[in-house]
Amino acid sequence: MKVLIVDDSTATRLILAGMFRDMGCDVLEAENGEEALKCIDSGEVHLAIVDWNMPVMDGLELVNEVRQREECKDIKIIMVTTETDIDKVGKAIDAGANEYIMKPFTKDMVLDKMRLIGIQI
């Protein structure tokens, strides 16, 4: 499974990338939404873990953009962000995110949410 991690925090990308590589996944990393779109264009991505607040193109814009592309409709998106306002959670889901995790997170949280959207590793 190919997983794309989109976060401007190097530390968060490191943690998530290590976690998914340990599970045997191929991992791509992007620092913002624009870089993420290039990764998506370059190959099949099954799951995207997306932060909200990033420079250039933020996570919500990225989700909106991905969901407008017919060829990306099967990509599962989990937002992992410090945004905890219920209206913002609703906005992310309305835009097309499949699940939402509020930072700080644990590996178990990510695994539980993956299971909820039908991804078993």
Partner: protein
């Protein structure tokens, strides 16, 4: 951290086994020291020696209960293991609804419910998928030994960490209100539940007769005799055509072979009284 003597450890372990059925082996000394050290701080007691001496004298039942409560495990989260809730939605509730068309009453137990996430997960499944039950007499009873966790369960209020674990975001948006940094369950879910203090070792279960029982990830803490006693109590109390869910790693095999195992999707199993 406070150190406990082997004699005091065994006294506490015996008391816990006698009052709750939970078995603590000798390698759990560190666990007991950690939990009792927290209790000492909260109660303003100087040492474990002093605490145990008070309990040994038998004059402070409330403190004894706090000691025992501090040694119970309250790990729980929303929709734990997912599969039992899928089985509930797809098979168990449709069957029970069919069987109870006449009386229009359903009772579900969530035993050793801790802070209530299992009971509320069941309630959310019902609100989400079974609108026809709105006019039924339906109750989900969460029961636990610990008063402290029951108070939290009754409040229906959870931290960000707790709602992050296992709860589908669509349910968070639909059934919770955010108050400051806490998440509060809406009344539409809370009114389906009731939380009561309860000991699985009681000789007779005084709760309303259940159609469905969740007794998950509890039996692992008991010895064989206690497991037999609890299963017998559950079996004698639940409806003859009811359903019993145990934890993924738990079984009735060699404990009560009269209970029949029924396997659903994802290898999720539940148990029924042989018809």
């Amino acid at each position: 951290m406070e150190i406990i003597t082997l004699d005091n450890f065994r006294f506490v372990a015996d008391l816990l086994h006698q009052k709750t059925g939970i078995v603590l082996s000798d390698e759990k000394v560190y666990f007991v020291e950690t939990r009792l050290s927290d209790l000492l701080r909260n109660e303003g007691i100087g040492s474990i020696e002093e605490l145990i001496e008070t309990i040994r004298r038998g004059r402070d039942a409330a403190l004894e209960k706090k000691v025992l409560e501090s040694l119970t495990t309250n790990e729980t989260y929303f929709f734990r293991d997912v599969a039992p809730f899928e089985a509930l939605r797809k098979v168990v509730l449709p069957d029970i609804i069919q069987r109870r068309q006449g009386e229009r009453r359903i009772c579900i137990w969530s035993l050793a419910c801790a802070t209530g996430q299992e009971a509320y997960s069941i309630a959310m499944v019902i609100r989400e998928h079974f609108p026809q039950l709105a006019s039924w007499d339906l109750k989900i009873i969460g029961a636990d030994y610990s008063r402290e966790v029951l108070e939290k369960a009754k409040s229906g209020t959870y931290s960000q960490f707790e709602v992050n674990r296992g709860l589908p975001v669509s349910y968070l948006l639909k059934y919770f209100i955010k108050e400051g940094d806490r998440w509060l369950l809406k009344d539409s879910v809370r009114t389906l539940t009731e939380f009561v203090e309860f000991n699985l070792l009681d000789s007779r279960y005084s709760l309303p007769t259940p159609d469905i029982v969740f007794l998950r990830n509890v039996m692992i803490y008991f010895d064989l005799e206690t497991k037999k006693k609890i299963l017998a109590n559950v079996k004698n109390t639940m409806r003859r055509d009811g359903y019993l869910f145990l934890g993924t790693a738990e079984t009735t095999l060699n404990i009560d072979n009269s209970l029949e195992r029924h396997v659903f999707e994802d290898n999720c199993a539940c148990y029924r009284i042989g018809q």
